[in-house]
């Protein structure tokens, strides 16, 4: 999409706010609408927009496949690991009360940890699926659509 000047300029302006908004949704999920799932999707959308406009190759060189694939697994590990930590601290699986001396504080930390796990996995899966779909075909001309 080299000849689309407007798209390129607008994308350059938009990517950073989209990523920032993703982080906001991720860590503000306790207080407002949103959470890990939506945040992961929004964060991935920022990168996918970059990939669509500036080319998949440039995105892939910054974010190689193996990083994405590790992120997909890392999120599930963060989530399940939180549960294991709870068990190690003497509680049930995913019983966040054990994370702190104050049970309510422990709940807050537990929720932040598992939401982070959800966000990382969803981000990784969205990126991996986008790579899989966009990485296959020879790129189309604008007229082909």
């Amino acid at each position: 999409m080299d000849h689309h000047l407007i798209l390129r300029v607008v994308t350059q302006i938009l990517v950073a706010p989209i990523l920032l908004y993703g982080l906001y949704v991720q860590f503000h999920g306790d207080f407002g609408p949103g959470g890990g799932f939506q945040a992961g999707v929004i964060f991935a959308v920022g990168f996918i927009l970059y990939g669509i406009v500036f080319g998949l190759r440039r995105l892939r060189s910054k974010f190689p496949d193996y990083v994405i694939h590790r992120l997909v697994a890392l999120g599930v590990l963060i989530y399940a690991g939180t549960g294991i930590v709870n068990m190690a601290l003497g509680g049930n699986f995913l019983d966040y009360n054990t994370l702190s001396v104050n049970p309510v504080q422990g709940q807050h930390w537990g929720i932040i940890a598992v939401e982070l796990g959800v966000g990382v996995t969803v981000f990784g899966v969205m990126m991996a699926i986008y790579y899989s779909f966009a990485g296959r075909p020879p790129s189309l001309d604008d007229k082909d659509w």
Partner: protein, 193 residues
């Protein structure tokens, strides 16, 4: 006012759905599907389900459109014209629609305070969250804490789905095999020389 907005949105939703069925160019269909998702997200906002609306807007209108466009790029750009018209599919769809509408007649009215949803576990979560977890968004409290195990299952489903797509269509295996093949070729060459 809310009734007018809801009716207008439903009208637009039905119009979009009919348009999706009529249009043959798949690019337009994908864009209309995005419009459909955004309209449903607006409806969810009107029903005070902001978390659901958020997900619908981000996934339905955002990611799905991109993936559909990717699929179109891999397959075909426009739908084939049907060669013959048959009444059987139409009658099946109409019949299913009638059955579904008949099924909703038994459901409690929207926002009914005496419906099972509002009288069973809902009040329990609402009364316990401030003392147990103390986060303002009760949806997050239910999803991440009270039903943490369910959400772990959902994350695993997302993980498995991503794994499946990567294994099936990313061509990763082919690339790995090619690399291995190159290595095998070079080592055999070295052995020969």
């Amino acid at each position: 006012m809310e009734l007018i907005l809801t009716s207008l949105l439903f009208l637009a939703l039905v119009t979009t759905a009919v348009a999706i069925a009529m249009v043959r160019r798949l690019f337009a269909v994908v864009m209309l599907a995005g419009v459909f998702s955004l309209l449903s997200a607006l409806l969810f906002v009107l029903m005070d389900a902001v978390d659901v609306a958020f997900t619908e807007a981000a996934v339905g209108a955002g990611i799905s459109s991109v993936l559909m466009l990717g699929t179109i790029a891999l397959t075909a750009r426009s739908e084939k014209k049907p060669t013959s018209y048959s009444l059987v599919p139409l009658s099946i769809v109409v019949l299913t629609g009638i059955v579904l509408i008949y099924g909703t007649l038994d459901m409690p009215n929207f926002g009914d305070a005496n419906s099972p949803v509002q009288t069973h576990v809902g009040p329990d979560y609402i009364s316990r969250t401030p003392t147990d977890i103390d986060v303002p968004n009760i949806v997050t409290a239910v999803l991440a804490s009270y039903r943490g195990f369910d959400t772990l299952g959902e994350v695993t489903v997302v993980f498995t789905a991503g794994l499946g797509v990567v294994l099936l269509i990313s061509g990763l295996g082919r690339r790995v095999r090619r690399k291995r093949g190159d290595q095998a070729a070079t080592t055999s060459k070295e052995a020969n020389s």
